[in-house]
């Protein structure tokens, strides 16, 4: 098969892809949030409201999470990380068919739709996390992170996981409608298991071994270790998370390739 535009090399293809993703991103913002009231600010106000709600709930309920960490910081680091890996698949599952007409533009490919949506969710979740952290630190509800670089590392690896997961499920949902049906309950059930609402260290040993099979638990623990540092004992394995991400990315790209080849726009 030939490249997108005749004799263009990699640089040209890359340029086109960036252009297309940018166009799709702006289009998505416009169709989702419009120009009414606060417009594209919803992009991160929406996840902020979620996080604030969870933070408030957990504070009131005095959630027993097995440590003496400030509940605000605990909720913020946990729930923001959930939003990061969960919203990407939410947006990619079933995203191909409604955008079918876009593929009449030869440079627009299924992967571009996925990547633009993934980028948008990553931006939204990150801005929400940063803005709320800044606000809470300012209000002195929590201290600044002990090791911001480690937080970033955990965040980026979680985003990578979310992106690969999103592309994989997005492509798979084109193959079978069951994926869309099953994804929502799965995402719902994964939330309490994902490490957002507990520290792995506080769990019984058998339970620890079980939850550490979930890649996102490693990301959440990494973010928490970066944030609380010496105050907690984090359990994670970077190599395990990276390996999961790489395998998932490989499968996601392969599946996208297959779906993209067979897809017939209306």
């Amino acid at each position: 098969m030939n490249a997108r535009i005749g004799n263009g090399g990699f640089a040209r293809s890359f340029q086109i892809q960036v252009r297309v993703i940018w166009a799709l991103l702006l289009r998505e913002i416009l169709t989702r949030y419009g120009r009414h009231n606060i417009g594209f600010l919803w992009l991160f106000v929406e996840p902020m409201l979620f996080t604030l709600g969870i933070t408030a709930l957990w504070t009131i309920a005095g959630l027993h999470h097995g440590s003496d960490l400030p509940i605000t910081a605990f909720a913020l680091t946990g729930y923001s990380t959930v939003l990061l890996w969960r919203n990407m698949p939410n947006r990619c599952v079933g995203s191909v068919l409604p955008n079918s007409a876009l593929f009449y533009h030869r440079n627009v490919r299924i992967i571009d739709v996925f990547l633009s949506r993934i980028a948008l969710e990553a931006i939204g979740a990150t801005m929400s996390f940063v803005a709320l952290a800044a606000l809470f630190i300012y209000l002195e509800w929590m201290g600044p992170p002990e090791d911001a670089l480690k937080v970033l590392q955990g965040w980026v690896l979680t985003a990578w996981f979310g992106a690969a997961f999103a592309m994989f499920l997005g492509a798979l949902s084109e193959k079978s409608e069951i994926v869309e049906k099953l994804w929502h309950p799965t995402a719902y059930l994964l939330f309490p298991l994902s490490g957002a609402a507990y520290l792995v260290d506080a769990l019984p040993k058998d339970f620890q071994d079980a939850v550490l099979w979930l890649p996102m638990v490693h990301g959440t623990e990494m973010v928490r270790e970066g944030y609380f540092g010496s105050k907690i004992v984090a359990h994670y394995d970077i190599m395990y998370l990276v390996t999961c991400n790489m395998v998932l990315t490989l499968f996601a790209l392969a599946l996208e390739r297959i779906v993209s080849r067979d897809f017939i726009p209306e």
């Binding site: 535009i5 876009l102 009449y104 209306e266």
Partner: protein, 218 residues
């Protein structure tokens, strides 16, 4: 230049595989105008969609050094909740065309007036088609794909479309699919007949049309 080499396309229908195209070879040079005729279901639209990059062939290669349009006046590619202007902006971004350069043309050509700033979903089908035509012309394609005769809008609009496409852009290549022999004679230099997934090429449009009508008789 566009070159199709041994293009095959198989669809997997419920009742089993359907071979729509069985080894198509075609070469279109810069500025050439080629017509394609064939009975209903012969695979003309499939061929156009493959050349337009909307679908991928099952096997074979398509190489091109020209920018090829989507099937002309295709109206489906608009987002209904966005305004005409926003849709134009989006397509400009995809093709890397500065919006300021084209908006005057689109406004003038589509004759949509203030409706250009309204959501496309409230447009009538005629308005949609006019916008689609304007958008197809605002990007500089080297080759235009036309699936069926472009009969959009009133007589005046048709004259303008004709002028823009066949006079202003007479140096561009065109691949035209049509049942209308006269239209094809008027606009194409040569033609090909698509029958049972095989493309038979003729030096002249008349040759192809003649072959096609004999085939239809038998």
């Amino acid at each position: 230049m566009i070159e199709l080499r041994d293009i095959r396309k198989t669809y997997h229908a419920r009742s089993g595989p359907v071979d729509v195209l069985k080894g198509i070879n075609l070469r279109v040079e810069k500025g050439e105008k080629i017509g394609i005729v064939g009975r209903n279901g012969a695979g003309k639209s499939t061929l156009i969609r493959l050349i337009g990059g909307i679908e991928r062939p099952t096997s074979g290669t398509i190489s091109q050094s020209m920018q090829i349009s989507w099937p002309l006046a295709f109206t489906g590619a608009f987002q209904g909740t966005l305004t005409g202007i926003d849709n134009v902006r989006f397509i400009c971004r995809i093709y890397g065309k500065p919006y300021e350069e084209v908006i005057d043309f689109v406004e003038d050509f589509s004759q949509l007036g203030r409706f250009l700033r309204e959501p496309v979903k409230i447009y009538s089908s005629g308005m949609r088609a006019r916008l689609a035509f304007a958008v197809s012309l605002m990007i500089d394609f080297d080759c235009y794909l036309i699936d069926e005769v472009v009969a959009v809008g009133d007589e005046r609009f048709q004259q303008r479309s004709h002028h823009e496409l066949f006079e202003v852009r007479r140096d561009r290549a065109i691949i035209l699919v049509s049942h209308d022999a006269n239209y094809m004679r008027l606009h194409c230099e040569r033609a090909a007949v698509l029958d049972a997934g095989v493309l038979k090429q003729f030096e002249t449009v008349d040759g192809a049309v003649h072959y096609h009508s004999e085939m239809m008789m038998s």
